[in-house]
């Protein structure tokens, strides 16, 4: 899930009798499964929550380019290099769709970028972990994109039209990425002893961070209840995490890899795997800035933003000069 811990700006779930006439009509439209479009009435809390959620998702795509971009120049074959380039390019494209969706809510891409860089907006904790071997390109595709899909497939039905439509395009590409990642893992586990070691090591390092992507248990969260009522959050974090574990364990078995959890086991009664929760203390450290790569990731984004300033300024200046010349000629 690329949107974690999105704090609602409201005061929790508002009871129907406490809603204004407009808000009640708005909730009725959502309950009837209608899509909300940019010019439609929407409560301020809905708008602000969506900006945070879509913004966090967009930033995750952009920051998420970095750990995989880390291996583009070292990809082992021309085919792998092209596939990885295309994948990271898709992420830039996802960022673009999502920033556009957020712009329909009245916040510009530049404003959102500034908020990312000064820490007012977050991105997914997963991208604060390093990619250390080529097998990490497999593990990221398989586990990280796999976890993202769990969250994003239901979001295709989310109540806000531009977000739902962006998610339809994104999901198609994410499933492809997940298969690409699994394919890398297959090559690694069928390879040399060194490659198998890399594959197991990648799973060891990415398993718990992938589980953290869904966020902490939200059964008690009032924010989640409101987001679910607005249909901008479709499932609880725990439901999605369980679904991810249930789908991923057989895949790991197929690969001949061991999930780094001694207590992982199939539970006949529940029809699900029992598993060990990730270390939530680590999660809170990571989202508060103390992950292995937080500082480097933000510095890299800040540097790209600063280094590109002259280009953006020049493009605008040229467009203005061109328009002025055209006007003078008419």
């Amino acid at each position: 899930m690329y949107a974690q811990m999105v704090k609602s700006t409201g005061k929790g779930l508002v009871a129907r009798e406490d809603m204004s006439f407009e808000d009640r009509a708005f909730q009725d439209r959502i309950d009837a499964g209608e899509k909300i479009e940019p010019k439609d009435y929407m409560p301020d809390g809905y708008r602000r929550n969506l900006i945070r959620q879509i913004g966090q998702h967009a930033h995750s795509e952009i920051v998420g380019q970095l750990p995989e971009g880390n291996w583009i120049t070292r990809a082992p074959t021309l085919e792998r290099k092209a596939n990885l380039l295309a994948k990271v390019q898709d992420e830039a494209g996802h960022g673009l769709y999502l920033y556009c969706a957020a712009e329909t809510l009245g916040v510009s891409r530049d404003e959102m970028t500034e908020m990312l860089l000064d820490g007012r907006m977050k991105y997914s904790s997963i991208f604060n972990y390093p990619t250390l071997t080529w097998a990490d390109m497999g593990a990221v595709g398989w586990l990280v994109d796999g976890a993202a899909i769990m969250n994003q497939v239901p979001l295709q039905r989310t109540s806000y039209g531009p977000y739902a439509r962006a998610m339809v395009r994104i999901c198609k590409e994410e499933s492809f990425h997940q298969r690409q990642g699994f394919h890398i893992m297959m090559a690694m586990v069928n390879g040399t002893a060194d490659q198998k070691r890399m594959a197991q090591d990648a799973l060891n390092r990415f398993w718990y961070p992938a589980l953290m992507m869904f966020g902490p248990s939200d059964k008690d969260s009032v924010h989640s209840a409101q987001s679910m009522a607005w249909r901008i959050k479709m499932n609880t974090n725990d439901e999605l995490r369980q679904k991810f574990v249930d789908e991923t364990v057989p895949q790991a078995e197929y690969l001949g890899l061991t999930i780094p959890d001694d207590d992982l086991q199939w539970n006949e009664d529940t029809g699900h795997y029992d598993f060990t929760e990730p270390d939530w203390a680590e999660f809170f450290e990571v989202i508060s800035g103390n992950g292995p790569c937080n500082v480097d990731r933000l510095n890299a984004r800040q540097k790209a933003w600063d280094d590109g300033a002259w280009v953006r300024e020049a493009m605008v200046a040229h467009a203005e000069k061109k328009a002025a010349r055209k006007q003078a000629a008419e």
Binding site: I62, Q65, T73, L78, K81, M188, A304, G308, A317
Partner: protein, 250 residues
């Protein structure tokens, strides 16, 4: 070395080295649209590499593959232009280099479409579509950044001044080129200089940039005789997995 193999390595290595340099931008460009566009260019060039080096490997016929040629040769066996291996430095130099190369590639690939070697003609036809788009975009960007602000103009002028002494290598005919011309496989590169110069002069004018007067030209890339110091570092990164784990399948 067979002249045709040598010729194909030059085409493939140009695409590979520029594709690799361009790929270094992925995730770090000045704006998302530029990031996506640069990655497109890199992808096109890596695709062209596969075609040229794939054919080179067939012509060589010693059992090496396109990947072997890309990942298991050392710097002195590379046949790319020096201009393409120097570091990106900044967005301005990256786009200026792309433009100087594209301005050559478009007439060059246009001519190769009528090569007596049908495989060369086929690869050229496919690559030309991409190169034409690359030239539109790089020329437009050079004009925008040259014309934009005083700062951007100075940066683009510095990029042009830096790259200019490397541009002459595009037209340095040698025995391989003569053999290709004799076999009607490719024209002499020097024959394309007027077309290239026209594009470059027109674009520089629109970009408010001054073409350097010196006609000094570095050489040694397309023959492999003397690369820059930069290529070895690039290959050390690019080839690390193939070199560290010989025989592994990825």
């Amino acid at each position: 070395m067979q002249p045709l193999f040598e010729f194909l390595l030059r085409q493939g290595d140009n695409a590979l080295v520029l594709g690799h340099r361009t790929s270094e931008w992925c995730g770090l460009a000045p704006a998302l649209e530029e990031d996506i566009a640069l990655t497109n260019t890199a992808l096109d060039l890596i695709g062209q590499t596969q075609l040229w080096l794939g054919y080179a490997a067939e012509v060589e016929d010693t059992g090496r593959s396109a990947n072997d040629l890309a990942y298991l040769r050392d710097a002195y066996d590379f046949r790319n232009l020096l201009m393409l291996e120097v570091p990106n430095e900044d967005f301005g130099r990256t786009l200026m280099r792309q433009f100087l190369f594209d301005a050559f590639q478009v007439p060059w690939l246009t001519a190769l479409q009528t090569s007596a070697d049908p495989r060369v003609a086929e690869i050229a036809a496919k690559s030309l579509k991409e190169a034409t788009y690359h030239l539109d975009r790089s020329a437009e960007t050079v004009v925008a950044l040259g014309d934009g602000t005083a700062d951007s103009n100075a940066r683009m002028q510095a990029a042009l001044d830096y790259l200019w002494p490397y541009s002459g290598e595009l037209f340095a005919d040698d025995e391989t080129d003569s053999a290709m011309a004799d076999g009607s496989i490719a024209p002499l590169p020097s024959s394309l200089r007027p077309a290239w110069a026209t594009t470059v002069e027109d674009t520089a004018k629109a970009a408010c940039l001054k073409l350097p007067e010196s006609d000094f030209a570095h050489s040694g890339g397309r023959t492999g005789a003397r690369h820059t110091e930069h290529l070895g570092h690039m290959l050390a990164v690019m080839q690390v997995l193939q070199r560290s784990y010989p025989g592994a399948v990825w």
